[in-house]
Symmetry: D3
Subunit: 137 residues, 6 copies
């Protein structure tokens, strides 16, 4: 087989966050972000689906060993964000608003550096079962 196959690994992490724009008033933030702007934070069980696309190795039949991929996600994403307050405990969202769109982009950028350039990458992030995002689109 010389054609590309996509392989997906689903992981999860639990985090607190608050949506707000630095420099906006509380009223502005409440109007734009509603109850998501609660100054004391709320939280989610984030489900993360990492999609890696490449040509399977002709001998092993693997695009990438899923235990390798899982370890990369564990080390570079979960260790950074699991059971954390995204606004207070991470440098990535110290000033960047932790919307699902921004989180999925940040996770993509982190993982992109850890994967071989021959592999394509896409990341989907579920904030709830009914709200989710994907990058690249």
């Amino acid at each position: 087989m010389e054609k590309k196959v996509a392989i997906f690994r689903k992981e999860h992490f639990n985090a607190a966050h608050r949506l707000f724009v630095h420099g906006w008033t509380d009223e502005q933030n409440l109007e734009q972000f509603g109850k998501c702007s609660n100054p004391h934070f709320h939280g989610h069980n984030y489900e993360l689906v990492v999609k890696v696309t490449g040509i399977p190795d002709p001998v092993t039949g693997y695009v990438i060993n899923l235990s390798t991929l899982s370890s990369i996600i564990q080390k570079h994403v979960l260790a950074r964000f699991d059971h954390k307050n995204l606004n207070l405990d991470t440098k990535e969202f110290a000033s960047l608003n932790p919307t699902a769109e921004n989180i999925v982009y940040v996770i993509y950028e982190i993982l992109r550096k850890e994967l071989d350039a021959s592999l394509d990458l896409s990341v989907r992030l579920y904030e709830t079962e009914r709200n989710f995002v994907e990058y690249p689109a």
Copy 2:
């Protein structure tokens, strides 16, 4: 970030329908649509996943405010189809056969008019957990 992110919102509605072609005999409809052509209707819990793709606003970090998107779906799709008989209670399927393919296309056309032209749109519709459709393909 100047690249596109996709954001998804899942909603649901419950409806009755019957699959049949106007002008066909009962035998023809039964042969083509099986028990789905039952003249007294049957029904489904439809799960709807709306995908909107665009460049996140650099200040808010939102492609689109999900409560805005949810309201649009509520007002233009759910208010029209939820707890309805698609064949008898809607003008869209008065003569058009309410297959999943036709329903997803109709919902796409409804939502396309309500969204800014800068945003891409795709709709997935689950008729059951095992049967679903997507438009555009």
Copy 3:
């Protein structure tokens, strides 16, 4: 092993129904049942979970052969209700209001007759993922 084990089999069916009390006015039915009283019906993907409890056969290790149980459910419940209009196509709900409570009770009574008296029976019925019932309670 001489102790009881419970075994569960999940099946599903799709049906249309309308909630209303014969003899009430449309206004009374609308007030009590809301959009569920739509005269043209709406519908659901019903998920049915049948629980049978008994002492496993010491040789086979089976409480009941699940393919036998599945056939019983298929023949006595699904053949009667799948892709049907519960109000119009079934004698059980010709005058009985097809609430989830009444449906689960009717299904229990049907299945109780088909199972050996040494086996205990319980039925759970999901009308949607968020609304479900169980009998006996």
Copy 4:
């Protein structure tokens, strides 16, 4: 039917929390609660399943109108806990450790007061898909 049927309603809320015992050192809390004791909080999508058991009304076929039950949960539980920091924003967990066990008990006590004494009540709470609790047991 004069026998009891159980009816279930599933709702959800998102909240932040931190597990710790007032008066313990950080080391003690970390040893007992691990990363759940992060002083800056983490969060969850809590799924709540409320089970109400009673004899269906012989006319309507309802144990309780689910839209009534949903409103009770909305008003007395979700309005209090959704998008909140359980430790900082609620009086219930100002000093009580918000473990799943304690949360489910508190929710039971809240709902018990709102339901007719003829109805039995049980509450299940999912902190994640893999960790959940039920009261009474």
Copy 5:
């Protein structure tokens, strides 16, 4: 709180098995167990839900620390059965037919020994999403 709360932990393992009775002919086994008696085995993703019931500790609010419970399941159940052939790789099912009923009973007996006598135990095992068992019933 001096009343019992139930806490659940879900784990999973993947295993191969074959259903057959030693001493029966291939025809007898095929008639009773169908394709599940394939001599070369087939397999499942088993989902295991362990329910532990007890009075929460008044200080910590825990019935049992879930990371302790998860470790017990990991060490005594998953290490024994995950990625194994139940018939060939385990002493428990060397002669006992690995039906879901027998597996759930064996797992219960294993875990019962590892938990404090003050705690009640119940085990549910999903062989597939549609076929599952529970012990004690």
Copy 6:
């Protein structure tokens, strides 16, 4: 409608397999494939999602009749792989390592021959809820 719609059908099968490269030592296989290389096999509940894309028939509103598609999958894929040992019972994986990547490719090639050339095809295969693949990528 002259535009393409995608229609999906989800089916499942249970199978045993073992990952290993013929000609490698046990140590090499263990290092690469871990517990998946257990010589006595393990197994999975494989969930298969078949996506067929085409222009709906203007009269029936169907891209393809789902009962036809389901029968094709049943006859050509499930009859071959369900309740089988992929390594021992199938010619496809007699020498080809049954990784998810290789299985999804083999299923694609089987189904591609059975569908009209005007229809596009894509196959997704879940080995577990957390590990899955798709071809073409």
